[in-house]
Assembly symmetry: D2
Homo-oligomer: 147 residues x 4
């Protein structure tokens, strides 16, 4: 698997694009790690993010998983190409109530048009780590779209 970036400014680009995602800010998500083909996003528990039983809403969990997978893909895209999620599938393995969710996006198969990535989400508390969700994502490289 060839994971060489085509855009020398891949790191800056991912950080700038993430900063421009108002939705991530609205959730309180932050970029925890960026390397070639790999992006981690952190989400701190807040009552705003819960469903009716006080667990993280599946939508919040999926949102950080999607952004982590999408940005992992973007690290490999050409400078003039943006990223779009075509589809994804996510299994919610355990209900999560931990202090922090960590979504780890990793590229499985890079491609000119389509890139496949996975994301695993973990719930982290003092001394415990729970596997909260795992998903597979199909990301598209859209040329002519600045990201």
């Amino acid at each position: 698997m060839d994971l060489s970036p085509r855009d020398p400014d891949w790191e800056t680009r991912v950080e700038a694009s993430f900063a421009a995602q108002s939705f991530m800010r609205h959730l309180g998500a932050t970029l925890a790690h960026v390397s070639v083909g790999a992006v981690d996003i952190e989400l701190k528990m807040r009552p705003d993010l819960t469903q009716q039983h006080g667990f993280f809403h599946a939508g919040a969990t999926s949102s950080v998983a999607d952004s982590a997978a999408g940005y992992a893909a973007l690290t490999l895209f050409a400078a003039d190409s943006g990223v779009l999620t075509c589809e994804y599938k996510i299994n919610l393995l355990n209900p999560a109530k931990q202090d922090v969710l960590l979504a780890r996006g990793r590229v499985i198969k890079p491609g000119r048009t389509l890139t496949i990535a996975k994301a695993d989400v973990y719930g982290l508390d003092e001394g415990t780590q729970v596997h909260v969700a795992t998903g597979l994502f199909t990301l598209m490289s859209v040329s002519g779209v600045k990201d």
Copy 2:
């Protein structure tokens, strides 16, 4: 397909549970329609919900789709059972920038333990309707959990 509610108070229960989903409130989503096996959720465009190109973030789109599918399932559950999303898959068909997203959750196959539902999300503007996303959801009935 037998779509008879097992809990006579299904409608009140869905409304109360939706009202208790802080995450839906945080997004600004509202319950637009509730009938047996069918729930619609509306989400008005706000900058808070967008990704880096000004479209609805896939996470926001998926979140209302997930809640619509989950509550469509809950209309059919027994009084002492809550709903949990086991997994879902969503195809994002068109980028959405419309005034309103409408997520329509519909039960495909009810079951004692697992219920399968679909959700279609439409972007609505004056005079136009765009098919934004379509997804399939596996929902679990968890007894002993009040919803």
Copy 3:
């Protein structure tokens, strides 16, 4: 949704390509219906197609669903483009033991590169019809590949 074929010979092409799928012949599957954006495939029950409890193997069910979705997409592709399944998701709704499986592939969103289709599989017996499976498929148009 614009469902106009780009290749005037779309029907012949689908039939010829289906005839060239050795795997469909090996399963005993036949083309039951072809129209623009819609293809049905039929599979007669045979002990060869079962899992350990005598039901159709999920793999057999998925195989005809995949071919039905793929050929529904191919009806809309340009003459010089072949079809490839990028990914799919399928929910197996009911175990199937009926005489015939009918897989109905329908295009949901046509596109230059990616086409999204769904497939529903029904089990048909004298007088009964069971919803066996439902799935969502992402198909890619690969130019320069004869189909």
Copy 4:
């Protein structure tokens, strides 16, 4: 993650159940490895298994992936419980024409009712290994069904 078998005869049971899957025999698939939470299935290339361009049909690839994931789950089930695939999602990463497909099923999260597994399929030739597909599977434990 607790991967202790509940049935002391798990290995024999998996082998007997696999031998009873007529569909696996029809494809020519064989059991290559069985351990707790992990099952590998091998499929040798034959013209019978191909689509119109001579590659393994996505249906054949998915079928061995599904059986590998299902049997990986079954190694952990109680003696009186059978396994059923509820749903799965698979990404087809590379077209496969290799001599052998190897599907590796691994349990991600065991559970009383639902078990989540992944399967990765590799194409193996002399000296090369290609990642052909990756998928996520939801398997159900059905009590009272002998497997």
